[in-house]
């Protein structure tokens, strides 16, 4: 019983953190702090997995939690931090969308996400916090993160901040995945996370190269990469 309450509290907290971190990522321009926020988000994701483990009561999820922590909260941020240091670009200057508008759009996206996910929430038992299952908390949050990730991908110029957007997107997918499928099989999750790490590495390297080739690397300049 107490574990259930604890789990619910934990869920509420972690989902809240996930939400706020996504907003922060839209909010500020500095890449370094973006990576820091991303690390926090990874940690929150790991905690979320723990909370689900508590509710579902299967030990496998704790392993997943550890892996997630290692990858999303530590490994990937480190890689990105190094890439930033090497590329020497530390600010996302003039994104395609000014932060104020971006933030307002995030508000609308959140509403949309919550709207879309109400069926899921209803399916997993009621809309009240008391009896709501984990999905009630995190399905909408995950969806929001997916949307925010896309927003970042579409509106940022710097390749690295687009990597950040991509990672938010992935975190969102993971959040939804954990919950709705009540825990993806361990192997799948590991595979996905490793792929992500790989992608992050490659993109980091690439952006470094681009930096070397064409000084700054505004992706908008890369219109020559056709067929």
């Amino acid at each position: 019983m107490t574990t259930a309450i604890l789990a619910t509290q934990l869920l509420a907290l972690t989902t809240g953190v996930l939400l706020v971190t996504s907003v922060l990522l839209v909010w500020q321009r500095s890449l370094a702090s973006a990576v820091r926020v991303l690390a926090v988000q990874g940690g929150a994701l790991a905690l979320l997995v723990v909370a689900i483990g508590l509710t579902e009561g299967d030990a496998e999820l704790f392993v997943v939690a550890v892996v997630v922590l290692a990858l999303k909260a530590i490994a990937i941020p480190l890689v990105l931090a190094r890439a930033i240091r090497s590329s020497g670009v530390e600010r996302e200057d003039k994104p395609l969308l000014n932060p104020t508008a971006g933030l307002v759009i995030v508000a609308l996206l959140t509403t949309l996400a919550y709207l879309v996910s109400t069926p899921i929430v209803a399916a997993t038992g009621g809309t009240g916090a008391g009896e709501a299952g984990p999905a009630a908390f995190s399905a909408p949050v995950g969806l929001t993160m997916v949307l925010v990730g896309f927003l970042l991908l579409t509106t940022r110029r710097r390749a690295l901040s687009q990597v950040v957007g991509f990672l938010v997107l992935d975190n969102g997918i993971a959040t939804v995945g954990f919950l709705t499928a009540a825990g993806v099989p361990l192997v799948v999750e590991l595979g996905v996370s490793l792929d992500v790490l790989l992608v992050a590495l490659i993109l980091a390297v690439l952006s470094g190269r681009m930096g070397a080739l064409i000084g700054q690397d505004p992706v908008s300049m890369m219109t020559e990469l056709r067929d």
Binding site: L13, G16, L19, V23, N98, P99, L103, T110, A129
Partner: protein, 319 residues
């Protein structure tokens, strides 16, 4: 609620106003002192603002030719609005008057009365700086409005009422709601708004000497002697009360629920401690902050607006 109880509540409110008024300059002093210490200075002591006030009231006001009633009455309007807020917000006691409930919407609009008085004061002298300060002040006020109302909304949802004393009481009885995402987001948004409303960093620099960076200071460049004293006391009181509100929302314990002397005494001590701590933190934190460019301020406000909006969405569509 019978007449005796009403009288008691009224008495407590008056006591609360008196305490807050006495505390307000000290709060300003605390923030300055904390800042001084962090900067490695000795500082003038927390009672320096009181000395300044005592001196200001004994001087002869000067004002430019062609100023109107606003210059004479404006400062007092600001002060009076601050007094009224100090009475309305549940700081010492959470027992509202029967006919004048501490409705957050009412509180906000009384705040706006003071804001308008100050803005008109800035315009009245007909100097360039006054107009500049007034215009910036009103722009910020206009953009703060959505955030503050949205935060109010977020806070009022769990209670189903915008009455502050109920909100505070509800948070005291159900501590889980304080830690809940909605609760946290709402309070954070409100805190940002408080910084903007009271002209603290990063929105406005209270200790600047450069006219072109001024907002609040620019409006009162023409104000002198007792008028200045009223404006300063009014602004400090505003800061104090709003800090107290945030304090009571985060730590809703110690607020008196009835008018018994013991409870009231505890309430006074509690609120003074809360405000003191918040003021010290504010002063120290401001050392690490720089003033935002005026046109970056909307970003800050939009950000806190989104936080409040998330709080609302979260409390409707999940919890």
């Amino acid at each position: 609620m019978n007449a005796a109880e009403t009288a008691a509540t009224l008495l407590v409110l008056l006591l609360q106003v008196t305490v807050m008024t006495a505390l307000a300059p000290v709060v300003a002093g605390i923030t300055r002192q904390a800042r001084a210490r962090v900067e490695g200075r000795a500082g003038a002591g927390v009672f320096q603002p009181w000395r300044d006030l005592r001196k200001l009231v004994t001087k002869r006001p000067i004002h430019a030719a062609g100023t109107s009633w606003v210059t004479r009455v404006g400062p007092f309007m600001l002060l009076a609005s601050s007094f009224l807020i100090a009475a309305l917000i549940p700081l010492v006691s959470a027992a509202p008057l029967p006919l004048v409930p501490d409705d957050l919407f009412v509180v906000v609009s009384v705040l706006l009365l003071g804001t308008v008085a100050l803005a008109l004061l800035g315009l009245d002298a007909g100097s360039a700086f006054g107009g500049m300060g007034s215009s910036r002040h009103m722009m910020i006020a206009a953009l703060v409005e959505p955030t503050v109302l949205m935060a109010v909304y977020a806070l009022s949802i769990p209670v189903g009422s915008s009455t502050l004393s109920l909100i505070v009481a509800n948070r005291r009885d159900d501590p889980a709601s304080i830690a809940s995402p909605a609760g946290v987001l709402g309070v954070v948004a409100l805190a940002v708004v408080v910084l903007a409303e009271t002209g603290r960093l990063p929105v406005d620099n209270p200790s600047t000497h450069l006219e072109l960076t001024m907002v609040h200071e620019a409006m009162i460049l023409e104000t002198s002697a007792r008028d200045l004293a009223q404006v300063e006391l009014g602004s400090w009181l505003r800061l104090t009360v709003l800090l107290g509100l945030v304090g009571n929302l985060v730590v809703p314990w110690g607020v008196a629920t009835d008018a018994t002397p013991a409870a009231v005494a505890i309430g006074i001590v509690a609120i003074v401690v809360k405000i003191g701590i918040l003021a010290a933190v504010l002063g120290a934190a401001e050392v690490g902050l720089a003033k935002l460019r005026l046109f970056r301020v909307p970003e800050l406000l939009a950000g806190s607006f989104v936080l409040a909006f998330l709080a609302v969405a979260a409390s409707y569509l999940v919890a």
